[in-house]
Point group: C2
Chain length 227, copies 2
């Protein structure tokens, strides 16, 4: 038991070192890096497809995506107009700093405004692994039920923004948006909660605005201060 | 890196030892033990609620359930008429043999026909940890999308039965049952695929029949052979 705890520490430390190096590279390049986490099928890829279609004229974007197997997500994102590198993790339940560092080698970060990291579909493990990102977004979806924030508090507590997707299914699923936001508040979270539907387009404007604002905040921080 | 691999082996070995001890206890007691795995919100708890309501007159059942936090699932299952012990895992992404062994201490296994283990909502990690169960059931749901089998092959390949829940949302989600079953076949799986809806009750009969058949198979194997 003691050995297990020791090793976990060691792994985290190694990933933290890699994440810190990534964070430094991201800051130097002056781009915004967003780490997307969710349950399988909550809509991370759909959100990136919609983002690509609606923001590609304004901002230069690219993505890396983690999945146990297949390149289905990357192909969808590329088809929507955003470059994407698929990382296959095999049995791996989350992305780590090494995988991200390798995957972004194909990109010139200085030529990008936003890099999206679509994590492995898993509402537990990815939350414990820093990837050097500026912002974490947890994507939840109405069919999963309104109690997910309190049942998966580690991921939600780490979020800078909570996206609630599939609002078009609120009635069909009996989902309570009020309960969901109540559960988010119960966690003590004071972050934007964006209700939207990647299917109908409802609410996507607020998501794009949030992205632009975060992009601007990171860009201004990265700009050299005037003498 | 080498150390990480060594330790993973060690953890698996310890869990395998505990799982083998559990399997032995389960076989001696002659009950059926079913390990339920799924993404968050796919409907494991709903399936147990429906099972409790429809099978409680015929079979003696109990459950243990894993969740990072809260006892919400256990309360729902108990309210439906099935005893349930909640295991809170904190940051733990799957149940292990030690947690199950501790949780079942309150039950007299010889007095049970079926014990359900509702794993942590996670379609990745639980698949790699044996809990001494007789059968593994992967619960998928239509809103997650029809490609989940090929994107999460480790869990699906380990299943003795695949339950596809939320069939009432097929049209609203644009889910293709044919694609889903095609992807299941692509994995080389030859196990029952049970399409149902815990909400409407559609297809639950086949699930209850499957449970009865598995229960009978385990009971007959456990019975002393005639001299």
């Amino acid at each position: 038991m003691a050995e297990r705890i020791r090793l976990e520490k060691k792994i985290v430390t190694e990933n933290d070192r890699l994440a810190a190096a990534l964070a430094e590279r991201f800051d130097e390049a002056g781009l915004l890096v967003v780490n997307l986490m969710s349950s399988p099928g909550a809509g991370k890829t759909s959100l990136l497809e919609q983002t690509a279609r609606r923001l590609a004229d304004d901002l230069r974007m690219a993505a890396v995506g983690g999945d146990l197997a297949t390149d289905r997500d990357a192909r969808r994102i590329i088809d929507a107009g955003m470059p994407c590198r698929q990382i296959n993790t095999g049995r791996g339940c989350h992305l780590n700093g090494r995988q991200v560092a390798e995957a972004i080698e194909v990109y010139d970060l200085a030529d990008l405004d936003i890099l999206f990291i679509e994590n492995v579909g898993n509402l537990v493990c990815p939350a414990s692994f820093d990837l050097g990102e500026h912002r974490r977004v947890v994507v939840s979806s109405t069919p999963e039920g309104d109690d997910k924030p309190v049942k998966y508090p580690v991921a939600f507590r780490s979020a800078d923004c909570v996206v609630l997707n599939k609002m078009d299914l609120v009635e069909a699923t009996g989902f309570s948006p009020a309960s969901f936001s109540g559960f988010v508040r119960d966690l003590g979270l004071d972050v934007p909660l964006l209700e939207l539907s990647c299917k109908t387009g409802q609410g996507l404007g607020a998501w794009l605005d949030w992205l632009r604002t975060q992009r601007e905040a990171v860009r201004c921080r990265a700009a050299p201060s005037p003498e």
